[in-house]
Amino acid sequence: MTLAADPAVGRHCPDPGREARLAPHRKEATLDQDPIWDELMRRANQGDGAAFRQFLTEVTPPLRRMIRARGRNLPPDQHEDVLQEVLLAIHLKRGTWDGDAPVRPWLYAVARYKIVDAFRKRGRRLHLPLEDVAEILAADPGPAPLAARDAERMLGMIDARSAALVRAVRLEGQSTEDAAAGLGVSPGTARVALHRAMKRLADLARRMT
């Protein structure tokens, strides 16, 4: 009973029975079907986490294609970082979609903005490693390069709260919930902050090699 197999359900043909048939875990054949995305996002904004998860899962392939099309001159291993920044922005800004208009133009406008922004940021940053390399080559063989990658030194290069979070969870092995309680933030906030901090550290490590 997939929608694709039902000829009566076209894109521009509203069907009041459709919502009832919409199983939350169904993924196939829906990528271009706005009403389903609309419905998922509407439920997501009312607090339905499963609907939001399905929405994000379904929009990921087209977003990935968008990023690949735009980011030909960026190393492919950074495409996934950009994708994650877009997904995070979709979450943080989903309150700006009001449910009256279709969600797809909103989604693509958010994605376009974040992709341009991410590539601009990286375009600036991509010059840094080259300069770093030139400096290292020109400098005397001073302290061992491994020292620069020492975890504590890298933690010193990100903000104190994020560093405390990384230290607690990744180095001391606390659970994210305990670390969140220790810092006085909600577990969700801590998970997002940890995710961002790990990404920044990965960037730093990449720059230091």
């Binding site: 499963a50 998860r53 997904l87 995070l88 800004k93 909103w106 969700g188 990965a202 490590a205």
Partner: protein, 213 residues
């Protein structure tokens, strides 16, 4: 050596997070209106409206001195609010209507006047006070707007910032006009226009910086 959490992990985390609050237009607009209102209220307590306000307002150019900035403020505020939602269409051309009307008044007065008194009338006697007052009266609303609109997601942060500046300054000018006694369109289109333009440039620069997300 990737420490990157997988995209699936991120999706799971985001889905488990509570949805952020819905962005309401009135939550953006009312504090800005209140800021301009309070600033103008204080200004009127200190300096008062012009003595002949009720009579003067019957003259079309004097009424236009308040109504045109008011129209511009409403258009700019609407555009600013709409621009915080991605993929909303923006009818920027609406901005041209009050501007064109003001320019028409300016040109009409220019044609009507012999060339001698044009420059003194344009410069008037209170240009500095006018620029300073409109800018000062608009600053609180501009700052409040820039802070509140950060919760939006404008794909054009500089435009949104400029519209915040224009709506604040035009709103301030509409109120200031009730105090100002220089009724020549040569004066008020020039100096009100200059103050609003400066607010647009400043708001745009601030928006480019503060309204990114």
């Amino acid at each position: 050596m990737t420490h990157r959490p997988s995209t699936d992990d991120l999706i799971r985390t985001l889905a488990a997070s509570p949805p952020p609050p819905q962005l309401g237009a009135w939550g953006l607009v009312l504090p800005m209106l209140a800021s301009v209102g309070i600033a103008l209220g204080l200004f009127m307590l200190l300096f008062g409206p012009r003595a002949d306000l009720v009579h003067a307002l019957a003259r079309p150019t004097v009424a236009a001195k308040t109504l045109l900035p008011l129209a511009l403020a409403l258009v700019a505020l609407t555009l600013a609010v709409r621009s915080t939602r991605p993929a909303r269409s923006l009818r920027r051309s609406l901005l041209a209507l009050p501007v064109a009307a003001a320019l028409a008044l300016f040109v009409a007065r220019l044609i009507q006047l012999p060339s001698g008194p044009v420059v003194p009338e344009l410069i008037g006697s209170s240009a500095a006070a006018c620029l300073l007052s409109i800018t000062a009266l608009s600053l609180p609303a501009t700052v409040v707007g820039l802070v509140l609109f950060r919760s939006g997601a404008s794909p054009h942060p500089a435009f949104t910032g400029a519209m915040i500046g224009v709506s604040s300054a035009a709103g301030a000018a509409a109120g200031y006009a009730l105090h100002c006694t220089e009724d020549s369109p040569l004066f008020f289109t020039t100096w009100y226009g200059a103050a609003i333009l400066a607010a647009a440039v400043g708001g745009g620069a601030a928006g480019r910086h503060f309204l990114r997300w």
